[in-house]
């Protein structure tokens, strides 16, 4: 039985997030198990006069590729890969997993080879986005596996996800427009700041964000959404930060991660779990030890960590930083095959200072 919330989700994604218009070429990628969302998306995209390019992927195939491919095959990029990243006008990624640990048997080195090889293409993809030649949105579709990671029943997890997306609102698009206005005020305040200091448990991190634009993540690039972010100056970050929540990345994870920065670079890293994986990723390339993003989560509907970065990074009252690839649209210049978001909770005593002035206490902006 089709869930009517998926029809609503498809219409919000097309009508608000991506603003799908007649003639657009819209590429939708997601795992096979996202079939219940692919169908209303095909309908909605076509109704709008746009052309859907549906690209369901198999998690098992992806795993088999990483396990069985040789070095050359891991690094190979086909012309099809290239066209499908460079030609469409709009991109939608559906995030849904059948087993969030499916890649645990795969040598981490293989993932790194693959990412590094794809980096030039990824960069061109981001450049197209930054120039406004294309648009991209990632959407979470609830699955049992994600519910399990969140420690919730599937039905409760669905309510959590759809609640965070305001899909139960009589007019979800109007609700997102209001979110957008509220977040714009925070972004405006941050835009006047040069030196940002984040203080929390085991955390005292200073970043230079002078002249960097703060972007309002209001449901256009992620859905659900709720953060403001920028790319900090590449050589200026100093101090240390401890991440409160588990740090999943590409089907694997590290936990209890602590990082020490000097002149923008991670000079020391620790983790309670997954330290080897963390190091593997940090050593992927030169940019992987530098920050590509600093951000504040502002979605009040998301209050608990669920082991999914798409949600954890939006928890109202948290901040996060990402190692690796920066956002050109935020004037970031750091380049890497990595973009790994890690979240630090500010809700119990965390403080954010802008040029020495207190901007937020307990994660709440004044």
């Amino acid at each position: 039985m089709a869930d009517p919330r998926l029809d609503t989700l498809a219409s919000v994604l097309c009508g608000y997030s991506l603003e799908v218009a007649a003639g657009d070429l819209v590429l939708v990628e997601g795992p096979i198990l996202a079939q219940p969302l692919f169908v209303p998306l095909a309908r909605e995209i076509t109704r709008r006069g746009a052309h859907p390019v549906m690209r369901p992927k198999s998690e098992d195939v992806a795993t088999a590729m990483l396990e069985w491919a040789g070095q050359e095959q891991l690094a190979y990029i086909s012309p099809i890969d290239e066209w499908e990243m460079m030609v469409p006008d709009k991109f939608l990624d559906i995030w849904a997993e059948s087993n969030t640990r499916r890649l645990n048997g795969v040598p981490a080195g293989n993932q790194a080879i693959r990412r590094a090889a794809r980096r030039p293409l990824t960069e061109r993809f981001f450049e197209r986005l930054a120039r406004g030649e294309s648009r991209w949105c990632g959407v979470t579709l609830p699955t049992e596996a994600q519910a399990q990671d969140a420690g919730m029943a599937f039905a409760d997890y669905e309510r959590f996800v759809y609640g965070a997306g305001h899909l139960d609102d009589p007019d979800p698009i109007a609700a997102w427009r209001e979110v957008s206005r509220r977040q714009a005020r925070v972004a405006e305040r941050l835009a006047s700041v040069s030196t940002l200091r984040i203080v929390a448990a085991d955390t005292d991190l200073t970043l230079d964000v002078s002249g960097r634009p703060w972007l309002n993540a209001d449901g256009h690039q992620n859905f659900p959404d709720g953060e403001v972010f920028t790319s900090p100056h590449e050589n200026a970050t100093s101090g240390h930060i401890a991440f409160t929540f588990d740090c999943p990345y590409d089907g694997r994870e590290a936990a209890g991660v602590r990082l020490w920065f000097e002149d923008g670079r991670v000079v020391r890293e620790e983790a309670d779990r997954g330290l080897e994986f963390l190091r593997e990723m940090l050593d992927m390339d030169e940019g992987a030890r530098r920050l590509g993003e600093v951000a504040f989560g502002l979605n009040p509907e998301i209050q608990r960590a669920t082991g999914s970065i798409a949600f954890d990074e939006k928890i109202g009252g948290t901040c996060h930083v990402a190692l690796g690839m920066a956002f050109p649209e935020a004037a970031g210049t750091n380049s890497s095959g990595l973009h790994w978001d890690m979240v630090c909770d500010l809700r119990s005593g965390g403080e954010v200072y802008g040029d020495g002035e207190l901007l937020a206490r307990d994660g709440q902006f004044q």
């Binding site: 169908v39 095909a42 195939v61 088999a64 099809i80 066209w83």
Partner: protein, 378 residues
């Protein structure tokens, strides 16, 4: 526990059918439910040093699209669709479905428009295939929808499919190589024939095949396989043919198809059910009412009609022909967006004459004309 025959199928397709080599770009297209086979194909392709790309389809998506699609949508071709067909070294299409009738309520005109739009891709595909630049294989993954159409349980149907590929044998590749030799002997005999006449119930059809190339379908382009085929001369087909089995297009059945040919073209078409679809398709374009293929099914492990053309056209003891696009490598010059196979049973009283001499009777080649094609024993 996964079925070991799935892995065997994948290994035969990659190693025998396509002979993939290092660096080949192979596109695997499959419905999502064929995922277990696709995983094995990917592994086998990687082992061969090839670069697999995978494209799945999902139940309900095409239906949703076609329901909403306007003429403008249907005229739209993905900007890199032709380039992609140029870039591939190999292509695998896996046939399977969740519901073989998914598109049965879609207006035939929509399917026809889409088919027409796809024509440049189809032409590139056929040209590159004829030039030997692109190898391809169509295979099938046994699924419940096909089993249901065939009137079998899934388990029975799996046995049918895997036996048709001789995948129950310890060394299926050896069996296919042996079979291939026999088919090549038949092809050698047929190459000097100028005219074939097929006689069966309500059927008396003559096709000109002079100078055309016969091809032994020995498991390279279809798997399972088993037929010999050519592209008949475009202007010489004449007479009448009544197809024993329903012709199926896009999940719709057209029953009791009868065609009359004059000077190579269909001049009269009738069906006891599905007449409008038949006529719609025959008028897709100029080439759609001309034969692109004439073939004789030679896989005697495929012993019954199951409503899947991949198998039905191979039934040992049948012949089939396709209206629409021909394979250039056979010498056919017919082009069309259509290629629609229809099958006629010859097992009870059917006969084929080559330049006036009988060569085939009651579903078997005469022993003086061809080697015995009985499938290998267990």
């Amino acid at each position: 526990m996964s079925d070991p025959r799935i892995e065997r199928l994948a290994r035969v397709v990659i190693g025998y059918s396509l002979s993939l080599k290092k660096g080949d770009l192979v596109l695997i297209q499959a419905p999502s439910l064929a995922e277990p086979l696709v995983v094995e194909l990917v592994r086998a392709a990687l082992d061969a040093g090839a670069n697999p790309a995978v494209r799945f389809s999902l139940p309900g998506v095409d239906h949703a699209y076609l329901c909403e699609a306007t003429e403008e949508h249907l005229r739209f071709l993905l900007p890199y669709a032709v380039d992609e067909m140029q870039a591939l070294d190999a292509r695998i299409a896996v046939h399977a479905a969740s519901n073989t009738r998914e598109l049965s309520e879609i207006e035939p005109a929509k399917l026809r428009s889409r088919q027409e739009t796809n024509r440049p891709v189809m032409e590139t595909y056929m040209q590159r295939s004829a030039a030997g630049e692109l190898v391809w294989c169509v295979t099938a993954y046994p699924c419940t929808a096909f089993a249901q159409d065939a009137g079998m349980s899934l388990k029975q149907y799996e046995d049918f499919v895997f036996r048709a590929g001789w995948l129950h044998l310890a060394d299926p590749v050896a069996a296919w190589k042996d079979f291939s030799k026999k088919l090549h002997e038949i092809v050698d005999r047929l190459k000097d024939v100028r005219e074939l006449r097929v006689l069966a119930e309500d059927t008396d059809l003559t096709v000109g095949v002079a100078g055309r190339t016969w091809i032994a379908a020995d498991g390279d382009r279809n798997f399972p396989d088993g037929e010999v085929f050519t592209g008949p001369e475009e202007t010489r087909t004449r007479g009448e043919v009544a197809f024993s089995f329903p012709a199926i297009f896009g999940g719709r059945e057209v029953d009791g198809v009868r065609l009359r040919f004059e000077d190579g073209r269909v001049v009269k078409s009738e069906a006891s059910a599905g007449q409008s679809l038949l006529q719609e398709m025959l008028s897709v374009d100029d080439g759609a009412s001309v034969l692109g293929e004439f073939a004789i099914g030679t896989n005697y492990n495929v012993d019954r009609y199951t409503k899947q053309i991949l198998f039905d056209e191979k039934i040992g003891g049948t012949f089939h022909m396709a209206v629409g696009a021909g394979y250039p490598e056979t010498g056919s010059t017919n082009t069309s967006a259509l290629h629609w196979d229809m099958v006629c049973d010859l097992r009870s009283g059917g006969e084929i004459q080559a330049d006036g001499e009988p060569i085939y009777r009651d579903g078997r080649f005469l022993p003086e004309f061809a080697p015995d094609l009985t499938p290998p024993a267990e």
